[in-house]
């Protein structure tokens, strides 16, 4: 899995642009693309006018509430809805997990859905949910990786609590270790965190006969439509999914989930629209998380600073029956290596993709090791990394970025490991590198141009907050030579052409080529109408500044409005889809961090972060930068604050809220400097995607900065104060070398 994209990612695109991609190649001097365009739906979002799925109120609508297992592992022997049905306001009730004696009647984590009710008000629904009587036969559980892997552990999962993968081996490990002048042997780890989308998972479901309309908070309207159709056993044509605005997903919102199907069934039973959105505790327990990652690593380095060997045994938990794999080693070239990964199952909610799945874990485990190895050979960490990179390529440009970033950051001021200045506040610098695939394919778009000059671009994608709605308009406007506000982007509805889900940083790269080609072909038709009037052939025409004109003679032409008057009553209506040659895959980036650590309290204060990041052709520079800010803050949370804590005895999550599950606020945010790579080479690659790469490195570079400040190595996240203090004490006691 070394240096690989997450499992299930699309294969790399075959080389070679299509004829359309050549004809509608990105402009060398764009008028709109790569500029800073304010997000079009900003005014709706800041004013409260934007209707998120959570905000949809339908006539007669009632509220659903799910009854969940309080036990991490139990068999359901009976569910009694009778008292709940008699409660005030109750209109529907159902059993989701049928009682019985087979494994299908088992709940395998705290918070697994068991039953549900719907009532006139949310408060009544909560009351009624408490009246559902569920009888549990409590079973043995495992609440941590350690418990699940213990030799005397109860076997709580069919086929065992662990699943060991095949060894991946390259080169000659023995020879690699023989060539090593120094060997580091340590165990590194990252923890489980949850997505904490501000808008919880859920939907509003409304039936009209056998047709379902549902407003869902989802990262993929079309995939969710399919999920409803399959889950409810109805034709896909009978389902319409709408997501005009959604409050964050980060990889956790790809289908209807149990709550969606439950909501639809409650609505059917009640004969009324039902709103069912989860509360914060349900979010933590049952809507995904980033798996933990552990690795016992033995790694060798030669006297001159070349990596020679890597032997890693890794494990981690994705919860009840889910995988936990991640790329390891990350980026750097160990010519001889072996790695075996074991999935460990525990009685906790299943993992889901979380912003750059696998990469923050693999990055942390490798980057901390890299600083330890660099110290053994007494090399600067940046120099050491550059010496061990894979061959440079457009999607592997770390060498340049390390050099540029180090200069801009003032890396030369870094002291050796351990701040020698007296006093309790120690200052340190850290660095890390990352990669992500991005790319994407398969998007579709539909362009309508009418005789009044209006332009509508319909794309069955969705805007997670990344700015998708805005780039749909920008890409169309660029192609038609119009201002951005002359285009009406229509997204977030299965009435629009099929597009993939927004995951893996694939949205921009999958929809941009389709939009470019749809708009380009529509423009050809406008040219065909205007050409006779201008007395030239259509291929002599160009569009720009709201006009259609003869190439090389801009004064000979007409306004866009006048050209569109020639369209007549039948609008121009063009469908197009993704084609190869306008997008690409693979990004690289590096990050530098400066921290202050109070060695008396263990508190880490991140002072500044600098990142060098590429993403191919930048679409909207403003929202691309926002993605980078957001990725960095997400990873800062991963490093310093958030932590899903399960009670090791009861298996209950002890912080299923936002007051004990910590996230950064304004006061925790460092100065962040972004160097967004915008070179002819990157532009020539086409659109790639930027959502995930910036969130990979930050935690690692913070941890390395803490190490540089304190001289103590914290080999596992989160960097909570007590863990920093423990590492400092361990270091004082002689370290672990």
């Amino acid at each position: 899995m070394a240096n690989a994209q997450q499992p299930g990612a699309p294969p790399p695109a075959p080389p070679g642009p299509t004829a359309n991609a050549k004809k509608y190649a990105w402009p060398e001097k764009p008028a709109v693309l790569s500029t800073r365009v304010k997000r079009l739906d900003g005014p709706d979002k800041v004013s409260g006018r934007a209707k998120y799925s959570f905000d949809i109120n339908r006539p007669g609508m009632i509220f659903g509430k799910i009854v969940r297992s309080p036990h991490p592992h139990a068999r359901i022997t009976a569910v009694d809805l009778s008292e709940a049905r008699r409660a005030p306001g109750v209109k529907a009730a159902l059993v989701w997990k049928e009682p019985g004696t087979t494994p299908t009647s088992e709940v395998r984590y705290q918070g697994e859905p068991v039953a549900a009710v719907a009532a006139e008000t949310e408060e009544q629904a909560m009351d009624a949910a408490r009246l559902v009587k569920v009888t549990y036969d409590v079973l043995e559980h495992v609440a941590s990786e350690q418990q699940a892997m213990a030799s005397d552990a109860p076997v709580v999962f069919q086929g065992g609590n662990t699943r060991k993968g095949a060894a991946q081996e390259t080169g000659d490990l023995d020879a690699g270790f023989k060539a090593a002048a120094h060997i580091v042997e340590q165990t590194y780890a990252t923890h489980v965190i949850t997505h904490v989308c501000m808008e919880s998972h859920g939907c509003v479901c409304e039936w009209d006969g056998d047709k379902l309309t549902t407003w869902v908070s989802t990262q993929g309207v079309h995939g969710t439509k399919d999920g409803f159709a399959q889950g409810l056993k109805i034709p896909g044509a009978n389902v319409r999914v709408i997501t005009q605005y959604m409050g964050g997903g980060f990889g956790s919102k790809f289908g209807p989930d149990a709550q969606g199907l439950i909501c639809a069934q409650l609505a059917k039973q009640a004969g009324l629209p039902v709103k069912l959105f989860l509360d914060r505790k349900e979010e933590h327990l049952d809507t995904g998380n980033r798996p933990s990652a552990f690795a016992k690593i033995r790694a060798g380095v030669s006297a001159d600073g070349k990596l020679t060997a890597f032997d890693g045994q890794s494990w981690g938990t994705g919860g009840a029956g889910a995988t936990s794999n991640f790329p390891l080693p990350y980026i750097y070239q160990f010519p001889n290596r072996r790695r075996v990964h074991t999935d460990v199952y525990i009685n906790a909610g299943q993992q889901r993709a979380m912003r750059a799945p696998g990469h923050p874990q693999g990055c942390f485990l490798t980057e901390i090791l890299m600083d330890e190895l660099a110290d053994r050979v007494r090399m600067d960490p940046v120099e050491f990394r550059i010496k061990n990179l894979p061959a440079a390529a457009p999607n592997a440009a770390w060498g340049d970025y390390f050099t540029q970033g180090a200069k801009a950051f003032g890396w030369e001021k870094r002291h050796a490991t351990g701040d020698p200045t007296p006093g309790p506040i120690k200052n340190g610098f850290g660095v890390s590198a990352h990669q992500w695939g991005g790319g994407g394919r398969g998007g579709r778009a539909h362009c309508d141009i009418t005789s009044d000059g209006s332009v509508v671009m319909k794309v069955g994608t969705q805007d997670l907050g990344t700015g998708t709605r805005t780039i749909v308009a920008m890409l169309t406007a660029e192609t038609l030579g119009l201002p951005v506000n002359a285009v009406k982007p229509e997204i977030g509805d299965t009435m629009y052409p099929v597009c993939g889900a927004s995951g893996g940083s694939t949205t921009a790269a999958s929809i941009s080529p389709a939009i470019r080609i749809a708009a380009g072909r529509a423009l050809d038709q406008v040219f065909a109408k205007a050409a006779p009037q201008l007395g030239v052939s259509a291929d002599m025409l160009a569009a720009g500044d709201g006009r259609i004109f003869v190439k090389g003679n801009t004064s000979k032409g007409m306004t866009w409005k006048d050209a569109c008057k020639l369209i007549g009553t039948e609008p121009i209506s063009i469908d197009a889809e993704w084609e190869d040659g306008l997008s690409s895959t693979g990004t690289s980036g590096v990050q530098f961090t400066e921290v202050d650590v109070d060695i008396e309290t263990g508190i880490v204060k991140v002072k500044r972060i600098l990142t060098v990041q590429d993403c191919g052709l930048i679409v909207d520079r403003l929202t691309a930068e926002s993605q980078i800010y957001g990725g960095i803050v997400g990873s800062l949370n991963f490093a310093l604050f958030e932590d899903r804590i399960l009670d090791r005895v009861t298996g209950q999550m002890v912080n299923p809220n936002m007051e004990s599950y910590l996230l950064a606020g304004m006061s925790d945010i460092p100065k962040i400097d972004i160097m967004l790579v915008d070179t002819p080479l990157q532009r020539s690659r086409g659109v790639i995607g930027i959502g995930e790469p910036p969130t990979v490195s930050t935690a690692s570079s913070i941890a390395n900065a803490v190490r540089n400040a304190t001289g103590a190595t914290v080999r596992s996240l989160p960097l909570h104060p007590h863990r920093i203090l423990a590492a400092i004490e361990e270091q004082k006691a002689g370290g672990t070398k």
Binding site: G42, V46, D55, E122, G247, R280, G465, S626, M658, G665
Partner: protein, 207 residues
């Protein structure tokens, strides 16, 4: 890691909804449980209402809003579910994330932890009433100009907290912005640009 005190100069101004909630919760055991508290209140001449629906009259964004709600209903739920004022959001429902932030008699409050019945007679301002038609409030405009939002779900709360801040400190320092907005959480991580927006609000109407 948010600090909940929204004005560093007035440490007593901890969010009133949360404080009142805590005060009530703290008093209940002294009066031997909730029922005991009701009895104690009845004996002192206070009116006992509920537990069923009671009519209430609120003043929201300068307009009267008549609702029938259970006394336990939060201000946030009452406005979202009964009055279709859905601008302010529910993130945590426990007075932490700030997505529900409203301004009540000039002070920020977590409306998820404020009961609807307790704000009768008070001026409630929500994000829905901030813009003047198509003209955004200067704080809203600053958020748009600086791209101080991504998914936008926390944004109504941040906007309201910023409005309250700006009405006290028209040209806030970064330290004042941090203190004023530390009771709000943005999961998308837009803080850098929220700081830019809050320190670049132009043409503020003093409230």
């Amino acid at each position: 890691m948010a600090q909940k005190n929204k004005d560093p100069e007035k440490p007593e101004q901890i969010d009133r909804g949360r404080r009142n909630f805590l005060k009530t919760a703290g008093m209940a055991p002294l009066a031997a449980g909730v029922a005991g508290a009701a009895v104690a209140e009845a004996q002192s001449g206070a009116t006992v209402v509920g537990p069923g629906n009671v009519p209430i009259q609120l003043t929201v964004n300068g307009k009267r809003v008549n609702l029938n709600v259970e006394p336990r209903m939060t201000l946030l739920n009452a406005l979202r579910n009964k009055a279709d004022l859905t601008g302010n959001k529910r993130g945590c429902d426990r007075g932490v994330c700030g997505a529900c932030t409203m301004i009540i008699d000039g002070r920020t409050a977590y409306s998820c932890s404020t009961l609807a019945i307790e704000v009768q007679g008070k001026q409630v301002r929500t994000v829905d009433g901030l813009a003047n038609g198509a003209t955004l409030h200067p704080v809203q405009q600053a958020f748009c100009d600086r791209d101080a939002l991504m998914c936008g779900f926390c944004t109504p709360g941040f906007v309201m907290a910023t409005v309250a801040l700006i009405e006290k400190h028209p040209n806030p320092t970064p330290a004042q912005v941090k203190a004023g907005l530390d009771g709000n959480i943005c999961r998308c991580g837009t803080f850098t640009r929220i700081m830019e927006a809050a320190t670049n609000v132009k043409g503020v109407a003093r409230g």
